[in-house]
């Protein structure tokens, strides 16, 4: 087999050679711009690099103009140590500790091969966190699927759950939260988002930059194979005379064991002070790592590509540049540290290879067996990609959708105690509200021994410092139905819910990450949803004083012309001085009083009830006032700090009734509840008004609690009391239901709540 490698010399000599840029997804004007930058045609390797680095996935070319708002509207916050643009943002949590966290999508790979797609999604975000110098300490996975009982959900869901668990469990990271949401729009396009949290001391923060002329570029981790380079084989086949190389897999296979070694090895070389800059290899592999490191650093790099250890000797240089093989990292190491660096890698059985060095040429030069195949200004690859102002407009159907409100006269509501009882039993078993234990019991939540709260609690919480008890809480949320009804307020509502969930557990919200899952940006209506959601999130973050530290955009989530619900998943991170003071969701003590904080209104648009019972989506989502949200957060945090409440739970999907049921099921103790006089029992039970929480107050603290709410002018309504003797067996007993009393035995509720997913996906333990 002979191989013609397209060199820079060759490119200069054959300026008119036709190149398959369109097959690589490069637009004619983008191709022209590459030629202009290089002042010649690109070599095949250069074309490969530009094509992948200028792709939507890597360059954010459609979203960039909107995402700028996160910077432009950035609130004043002392917490931000490293901002957007790095692998992940870094937040100061006090005592010299810093935390980095980020959420990313792996939607499309997970649809093709659910197990490996989900597994490598976890692996990728963990390496992002690692490359900041942090030890990954927890993961969470916001997931979205088609209807629970759809045949294709049965294909993808078990594989995705097993993949998330298989990778995270084997890596030794506790999975502390996340979401599982079902909606028909995700049937042909499930969403697999993965979040990772990492911790470090301030002095351990590392950045992706190649500084120091003469420093070595060291690739370490797994060998490079042909993973995830489907598209580039267009180029490969043109450089082979004998009909092309072996078929390249579009599926990337993860090796969590390798990743575990990579984590320990990377942290050891970082803590030994051997490393100048570091970058993980994810999408666009070596192309991305070398160009970004060079672009962020002194400005030049010389790479000898033939030194890259290969798993498959038939790979062409273009393919090596593009390969998305997992579990690889790239470090910039001063020559005097190289020996020690390689020694530590050997200790962990991690292969490390010096593939190049930092130069002062301002160029990224890549050689292949003595011939130059890439000679580019790195910034043009990594940062100066195309920027699109995609057209967008408000969908023509938006007004009709918003006018279709789920008022009592249009959607039948329960009007008797027995009808409400039936509704309760339906709702508690509804796939979106039912227990997700089938999923979360496949995740290790204990490993590392610092998990203070995990699912189904409102947020995941881990202890960061074993001596002081300082810890962080994280929650991710998004109601895509709200976002469809009104993307601007839907994004704010997602932010508000995640912010509230963090506060509910007693932590002070500090910072925000996001994973913006949308349909095609080439559809002006989708682009409008996107622009509105970004605007809403940016405005919301400014109002709440929580900066966006980073995130991810995933476009083209659609089946045919039908886009998914706009799904701006928002992750909020908070800090708690002492995790001993966390607020759990379950009540424990008879006689404790149950209060609802906030105002309940007749708001059902986009609610779980409208979706589950009527398959209805229309109207305007619940109103959202972030000043009130902030006040609620302050009350929840102050109550935790001052020991005024023993339990708290966010009120969101499924309203107050679902919140009470979840608290009762978690504790196993019953309660007596009464519907407030001014509220319709059904509205009390299932309205999804924002900015509410259920809290449990010891009688001895009631006056202080009331005073605190009054001082902040925040409504608090007593709705019940914890009572193990409310009925003959443990039960929620609800008084004032259309002149009747509803007795809801916990055993009956549990039977409904816990059996939905096992009935669909097969039994597991317990």
């Amino acid at each position: 087999m002979s191989r013609h490698v397209d060199t820079v010399t060759n490119a200069a000599n054959t300026p008119d050679l036709e190149q398959p840029f369109a097959e690589l997804g490069v637009k004619p004007d983008e191709y022209a711009r590459i030629r202009e930058i290089l002042n010649r045609r690109p070599t095949n390797s250069e074309l490969a690099m530009y094509s992948v680095m200028w792709s939507e996935h890597c360059s954010y070319k459609s979203s960039k103009v909107h995402l700028r708002q996160f910077g432009d509207k950035k609130p004043d916050s002392d917490a931000m140590l490293v901002g957007i643009g790095e692998n992940a943002g870094v937040v100061d949590i006090g005592d010299g500790w810093a935390v980095t966290f980020k959420v990313e999508s792996h939607n499309h790979p997970s649809f093709v091969e659910p197990y490996q797609g989900a597994a490598t999604g976890v692996g990728g975000i963990v390496r992002d966190i690692l490359s900041m110098g942090a030890r990954p300490v927890a993961v969470m996975d916001p997931l979205r699927f088609g209807p629970a009982d759809a045949p294709d959900t049965a294909r993808v869901l078990p594989g995705i759950i097993a993949g998330v668990g298989g990778y995270g469990n084997c890596l030794g990271l506790p999975n502390i939260g996340g979401e599982v949401v079902f909606d028909p729009t995700y049937l042909g396009n499930p969403l697999v988002n993965a979040l990772c949290v990492g911790t470090m001391k301030h002095e351990d923060i590392h950045l992706a930059k190649a500084s120091g002329i003469g420093n070595l570029v060291i690739l370490f981790g797994a060998a490079t194979g042909g993973d995830g380079i489907g598209g580039v084989s267009v180029l490969a086949s043109e450089t082979f005379e004998d009909g092309g190389p072996a078929k390249r897999p579009s599926v990337q296979v993860g090796d969590p064991f390798m990743e575990k070694l990579l984590i320990e090895c990377t942290l050891e070389v970082l803590h030994a002070g051997l490393v100048e800059g570091i970058q993980d290899l994810g999408g666009a592999g070596i192309s991305c790592a070398t160009s970004e490191l060079a672009s962020n650093g002194t400005g030049g790099m010389h790479v000898y590509l033939e030194r890259v250890p290969l798993r498959d000797a038939t790979l062409t240089p273009e393919e090596i540049l593009m390969s998305e093989s997992q579990e690889r990292m790239c470090a910039i190491v001063p020559p005097e540290n190289a020996e020690k660096f390689l020694e530590i890698c050997a200790k962990w059985d991690v292969v490390a290879t010096v593939i190049g060095e930092v130069t002062d040429t301002g160029r990224l030069i890549i050689e292949w067996h003595g011939e130059v195949i890439v000679d580019v200004p790195p910034r043009t690859v990594a940062h100066d990609g195309p920027v699109y102002e995609r057209p967008y407009h408000r969908p023509t159907w938006q007004d009709t959708l918003q006018a279709d409100a789920p008022t009592a006269d249009r959607l039948k509501r329960p009007t008797t105690a027995s009808e409400l009882r039936d509704t309760i039993m339906t709702m508690t078993a509804a796939p979106n509200l039912a227990s997700k234990r089938w999923v979360t019991d496949q995740y290790d939540r204990y490993v590392l021994g610092n998990t203070v709260l995990a699912q189904p609690e409102d947020s995941g919480m881990v202890r960061v410092d074993e001596v002081t008890g300082r810890g962080v809480a994280v929650s991710t949320d998004c109601n895509g139905r709200f976002a469809k009804l009104d993307p601007y307020n839907g994004a704010k509502l997602a932010l508000a819910e995640a912010y509230r969930n963090v506060s509910t557990t007693g932590a002070v919200p500090l910072a925000v990450t996001n994973c913006l899952n949308f349909g095609s940006p080439e559809d002006p209506e989708v682009m409008w949803q996107f622009s509105e959601a970004v605007r809403g999130l940016a405005d919301g973050c400014l109002e709440l004083g929580t900066p966006v530290t980073g995130g991810n955009v995933s476009f083209y989530n659609q089946t045919g012309d039908v886009a998914i619900l706009p799904t701006p998943v928002v992750g909020v991170l908070g800090v708690i001085d002492d995790v001993e003071r966390r607020t759990p969701m379950s009540w424990k003590t008879d006689g404790d009083l149950i209060y609802v904080l906030g105002t309940t209104a007749d708001e059902f648009a986009g609610s779980e009830w409208a979706h589950e019972v009527h398959g209805h989506l229309g109207g305007l989502p619940p109103g959202i006032d972030l000043k009130l949200e902030q006040a609620l957060s302050q009350i929840l945090v102050a109550c935790s700090r001052d020991g005024l409440i023993d339990a708290a739970h966010d009120v969101s999907d499924g309203g107050i009734m679902q919140a009470l049921i979840e608290m009762a099921l978690r504790s196993g103790i019953g309660a007596r509840v009464w519907v407030p006089d001014n509220l319709d029992p059904f509205v009390f039970a299932y309205a999804e008004s924002a900015t509410r929480a259920v809290v449990v107050v010891a009688r001895s603290e009631e006056q202080r609690f009331i005073d605190m709410c009054a001082a902040r002018n925040f409504p608090a309504t007593r709705v019940g009391v914890v009572d193990s003797a409310a009925a003959a067996e443990p039960a929620l007993v609800v008084d004032g239901v259309y002149g009747d009393v509803l007795t809801l035995p916990i055993a009956e509720l549990a039977d409904k709540h816990f059996s939905t997913l096992p009935a669909i996906f097969g039994p597991t333990v317990g």
């Binding site: 064991f257 070694l261 962990w348 019991d441 995790v579």
Partner: protein, 231 residues
């Protein structure tokens, strides 16, 4: 010797995950944790050894199959046969079985899923070096998390284990992985080597565990050392 002076080794294999947790449990029990490295032929003169949970060498061949050949295991096998107290938790249990320090094997859970849950157990032996601080038939709750935790052995072996009182813990309420005769942990005839599928090291602090019941295993070995029962 005093319990305060006890040094308990925790082995780290490539892919060990619960080694920090095991070290923390040792510390909370009142002993000094000593890190042992898989590639060393050195037990650093420890008084006892914990093989922690995880996925040693990725558990890619069979769980524990590759770890068994690690240099440190050659030392541990020899020392265990001389009476050194050894506790294998989860992956450590699998390694002890692969090393033939304990009989039987651990196979894929009968329901084929990884499972993580708070598991009720009954302590059915309080004479082994790792269980003597428990009451006989005491019920405890500790986390269980495994994909390949089904304990299997021939009927002869199972009869022998039961006949000699070498089943140290059984699953109560639910058998989470299809283990024969609800066996959650066993010991060797001498009582110094114990294998346990659930994770006592995750139940040592009220803050992070469902209970603190797991501490009993670690305090047991300290009592054993203090009483000179070991060796």
């Amino acid at each position: 010797m005093s319990a305060q002076g006890a040094r308990i080794g925790v082995v780290t294999f490539p892919g060990s995950l619960d080694d920090r947790d095991a070290a923390r449990a040792v510390r909370l029990a009142g002993a000094e944790p000593v890190a042992l490295w898989h590639a060393d032929h050195d037990l650093k003169a420890v008084d006892a050894v914990v093989l922690p949970g995880g996925f040693s060498y990725g558990d890619y061949l069979r769980c524990g199959a590759i770890a068994r050949f690690a240099p440190v295991m050659q030392e541990i096998i020899a020392a265990a046969n001389q009476g050194l107290p050894v506790l294998g938790i989860c992956n450590g249990f699998q390694i002890l079985c692969e090393s033939h320090l304990l009989p039987g094997a651990l196979i894929r859970n009968d329901h084929r899923h990884f499972v993580c849950r708070d598991q009720r157990l009954q302590i059915t032996n309080n004479t082994s070096l790792w269980t003597r601080d428990f009451e006989l038939n005491e019920e405890i709750v500790v986390p269980l998390k495994n994909g390949e935790g089904g304990y299997v052995a021939s009927d002869n072996v199972l009869d022998e284990l039961e006949g000699e009182g070498r089943v140290i813990a059984r699953y109560l309420e639910v058998n989470p992985n299809g283990s024969y005769r609800d066996i959650a942990g066993i010991t060797n005839a001498r009582g110094n080597v114990v294998g346990l599928m659930p994770h006592p090291e995750h139940a040592v602090e009220p803050l992070t565990g469902p209970t603190t019941d797991g501490l009993g295993f670690f305090t047991s070995v300290l009592s054993s050392l203090l009483q000179g029962a070991a060796r």
